[in-house]
Symmetry: C2
Subunit: 223 residues, 2 copies
């Protein structure tokens, strides 16, 4: 398979499409592939996001700056991945961040009308698109919620209690995400999160075995 | 027109549909209309959101509680409106909140498969659905961003500077949202926000005329 097609097929959104359809996306004259050198701007803040941007090769960072010009890095995104999928279909589709390549980068631009065409042709693609955008809603809702909590310990305990309730109140909880993803939801650094998990283990409150968490002392988890 | 159909037609998502199509949604045996008394639970936290819930009449509140049972109200939603549209199509579509009627309430449940059917039949409805969910992504992204700022003054100034950049760097800015909506984005109480706007006016930094803001002293706005 063409290496571009291969990378596209790894992205959740495109999983319902056949290899043939994916190769047609690349060949279609309506979609554009652009290459960027390291540290080249891909999209400026305040620019509209009119196409679905698919990061095929390379890595980008998203940045904001305050009015004194101080730049803050918001996120690092590795290929293959979608860039800002939640913005394309919004009426106010203005990017809140600059997107800058952090190494040699290849991006496929698929126009809104093409995306809608794929939705009409393939109901599974439509479901996949709705799922991708909805996943962003859930991620941001959770993040906003955990943001309101002060300590990492508080975040972990609340998260475990949510899972405890969702997973039928069993004392053996399966973590649905990796520690890495959890650190993104909580908005904390990954090592700090791992450290806090270790502390909870040392206190005998939980035991972590891979993606499984045993609640050893549920009374301690009430706060 | 039927009063239920009339209220549905006021919701952005359904605007691309003809009155006829809306009346068919109500008549369809696949969709269900339920009535709730005041203070009746509509959806429990940890329950999946399998249908699109359309709040036709009445008012609901969404609530969370911590493990000591202390209840916090998250949001108050007035009819006509959609409830949790960003959750229906997510793979982990578990409601993070309880939804409770705050007066006599009528809700229309439209199944996922019906929604997908309407998307296939009407491309404008599909666009409208993508827009509704994407709008949530933008709202939450903004809210998360403004959450990281400490003072209300800082939030207002940053917001105005964003608009200044987006609206072609003119000293006369049009507010795209009401003060009410802005208070939701900022996550602050509406009276506190109005008070802070007044203070900025008293200091001669801005002048507010309806939805127009004049930047009188842009140097003061850098922080």
């Amino acid at each position: 398979m063409h290496p571009i097609a291969e990378n596209i097929s790894k992205i959740d959104l495109f999983k319902p499409l056949s290899f043939n359809s994916i190769e047609n996306i690349i060949k279609s004259g309506d979609n554009i592939i652009k290459n960027f050198e390291k540290k080249e701007p891909i999209l400026f803040r305040t620019e509209p996001v009119d196409d679905l941007m698919v990061l095929i090769f390379g890595e980008v960072v998203t940045e904001m700056s305050d009015f004194n010009g101080k730049v803050m890095q918001v996120e690092r995104i590795k290929s293959p991945s979608l860039l800002a999928p939640g913005f394309v279909f919004a009426s106010k589709n203005i990017s809140p961040v600059d997107i800058i390549s952090d190494e040699k980068t290849t991006i496929l631009y698929i126009s809104k009308s093409q995306i809608l065409k794929y939705c009409n042709e393939n109901q599974d693609f439509l479901k996949s698109l709705l799922e991708v955008i909805s996943k962003k809603v859930i991620f941001l809702s959770q993040k906003l919620y955990f943001n309101s909590m002060k300590s990492i310990k508080e975040k972990i305990i609340f998260y475990l209690m949510q899972l405890y309730n969702q997973q039928g109140k069993t004392y053996e909880i399966i973590l649905p995400v990796s520690i890495e993803e959890m650190s993104h939801i909580f908005g904390v650094a990954r090592p700090s999160l791992s450290r806090e998990f270790l502390k909870l283990e040392e206190c005998g409150i939980i035991k972590k075995e891979g993606n499984k968490i045993l609640l050893l002392n549920k009374n301690e988890l009430y706060f």
